[in-house]
Amino acid sequence: MRKPTVVLGLGNPLMADDGIGVDLVGRLGQEADCYPAVDFIDAGVGGMSVLHMIEGRRKAILIDSAHMGEAPGTLRRFTPDQVRIAKILAHQSLHEADLLRVLTLAEQLGQAPETMVIFGIQPQVVEPRQGLSGLLLDRIDHYLREIRSELEKSAG
């Protein structure tokens, strides 16, 4: 049975700060006992598979690194309708994916959760190496507090 809320961590931990979503969902997953109605999933760079991870849920919380024009390390909470896509897709391969387009398709198919919240974190470093930048590491507790607060809203 699917739990009503899902938290997805997106990104690649081999690309420095691109892995922030995966890092955070891993940490939150360790507190899963506190959230019996929540699934925590490391979605990696799964692209279109997100469609199936959010299907049948009441709420989806997505954590991803995001270019938002903010200072590195900034976390912003937003919903899909608050932003527009600034990325150009070539449609050449499956190996490009845009989370917002996947969410649009989910809505069109009637498979989107009632509530979809994105936590975007502006990266400082995106390059081939493991481990987050010091800047993001220093702010991990702040990010976790914000997401926990969102989870408590869902429970309430």
């Binding site: 199936h52 070539a90 975007g120």
Partner: protein, 435 residues
């Protein structure tokens, strides 16, 4: 009619690197036709150096979100070959089942979400969902089945966690296998629906042929339409080359057009992927897959690269039908628990499997403690770059009279048909706030 055509499809500003298409023709004379590839994920080879043999699979599974099982399997096989580790028949079968789930997952995504909009004359799957909802829903059901199949066997939809040198850390229960088998049987109707939908628009598949060398795995004992075991063969070669000698097949070389390495064997280029497997092994397909190939007009020897997507549909049917039989075999034998104990040792070897988009080679060298001291990965997309370039050179003069927009669209469709994996190491959001 003489035409002047300038096509410059550039994606260099994108976060995710992609290939560029350049065509310059003046008064019907083609001056420049290039497939330019600005990057390749070679840096993973550096990332695994110094890491334990136990960590390799976890790292390389992140090379790609679509072919993560395939990279994991290739690397795990290479580790096992380097250290002389044997795998049980049961683990081998379950790994093949795992691999099949990714073939279905990837092919369904490619045909359903990327190629179908071209065939239906639409810009993306989003408007297709409005125009042909029943087809898109069949695709989505198949994709969901493939994802849940991966979840069951690999432990997750992407980036598998059950694979380990020597076997698997977890096996599905007999009950889970029976349930999966039932779902696979029920999915045949959706597979047929997708095949029929493609047949209904098959007239929009461009009619283009270029004599091509196709390279794929070949397994004789027992004869199998293989994705996992066997040696390397080609449509230009009667024999087979050991996977450990893959460098003598790939013959990688640098090209000014690209920072990715290109490859060639008996000709100036070769092609890998579903059509390559079909052209080398079609007689070994499952009965229903053969029927679907016939229905869609795909016959051995086909040299139309656009038919790769049709071969992918045929392979979807094959992996589903074959898996139903493999689950019977596993259930008859009974699923038994296994424990794996590995002692690391020095060695160097390769592992090879068929990724959904073609043959994939991994090679590693380990010191006596099992730490990696060298790696060499050759991905299928790099092996197709030279073929895409040669297709462009033959195709552009044939379609030049159709005008700039048609040339651009058809070349983009051609690239898509190869199902390339150019860069999926990051999928970062890039947004502007509007509210």
């Amino acid at each position: 009619m003489a035409k002047t055509v300038n096509v410059n499809v550039h994606h260099v500003t994108r976060v995710e690197g992609h290939g560029n298409i350049v065509v310059n023709a003046t008064d019907g004379k083609v001056e420049k036709v290039e497939w330019q590839v600005p990057e390749a994920p070679r840096f993973f080879e550096a990332m695994v150096r110094g890491r334990s043999y136990e960590d390799i699979q976890t790292i390389v599974s992140r090379i790609c979100g679509i072919c993560s099982i395939t990279h994991s399997l290739a690397s795990t096989k290479a580790v096992e070959n380097a250290m002389g580790i044997r795998v049980s028949e049961q683990a081998d079968k379950v790994r093949i089942l795992m691999h099949y789930s990714e073939q279905l997952q990837s092919h369904v995504l490619h045909v359903g979400y990327l190629v179908s909009p071209d065939l239906f004359g639409l810009p993306s799957v989003v408007p297709l969902a409005a125009k042909a909802p029943e087809v898109v829903m069949a695709v989505i059901r198949l994709h969901r089945l493939a994802n849940e199949w991966s979840d069951l066997i690999a432990g997750r939809t992407t980036h598998p966690v059950t694979l380990t040198p020597g076997g698997l850390t977890k096996f599905p229960t007999e009950k889970e296998l029976r349930e999966l088998q039932e779902r696979l049987k029920n999915s045949v109707a959706d597979l047929k629906a997708v095949a029929e939908a493609v047949l209904s628009v098959a007239g929009n598949i461009p009619d283009f042929t270029r004599e091509t060398e196709y390279i794929a795995l070949k397994q004789d004992n027992p004869p199998t339409y293989t994705f996992y075991h066997g040696d390397i063969t080609s449509t230009d070669y009667d024999g087979a080359v050991s996977i450990h000698d893959w460098q003598s097949v790939a013959n990688e070389y640098m090209n000014d057009q690209s920072t990715a390495k290109w490859t060639k064997w008996h000709r100036e280029s070769y092609t890998v992927g579903a059509l390559a497997r079909f052209n080398n092994n079609a007689e070994l397909l499952s009965p229903l897959a053969k029927d679907v190939a016939k229905m869609l007009g795909l016959a051995k020897g086909c040299c139309n690269p656009f038919m790769n997507s049709v071969a992918q549909i045929v392979e979807c049917v094959h992996v589903v039908e074959t898996s139903i039989g493999m689950i019977d075999e596993l259930l008859t034998a009974g699923v038994k628990p296994e424990t794996v104990k590995v002692s690391p040792k020095a060695g160097k070897a390769s592992g090879c499997v068929e990724a959904p988009r073609g043959i994939l080679f991994h090679q590693y060298e380990f010191d006596r403690k099992g730490n990696c001291v060298g790696a060499d990965i050759c991905i299928p997309t790099n092996q197709n770059h030279a073929a895409i370039q040669q297709d462009f050179e033959k195709f552009v003069p044939e379609i030049l009279d159709e005008g700039e927009d048609a040339v651009r669209l058809k070349l983009e469709m051609l690239v898509r048909s190869y199902d390339p994996c150019i860069s999926c190491s990051t999928h970062m959001l890039n947004v502007q706030f509007v509210r």
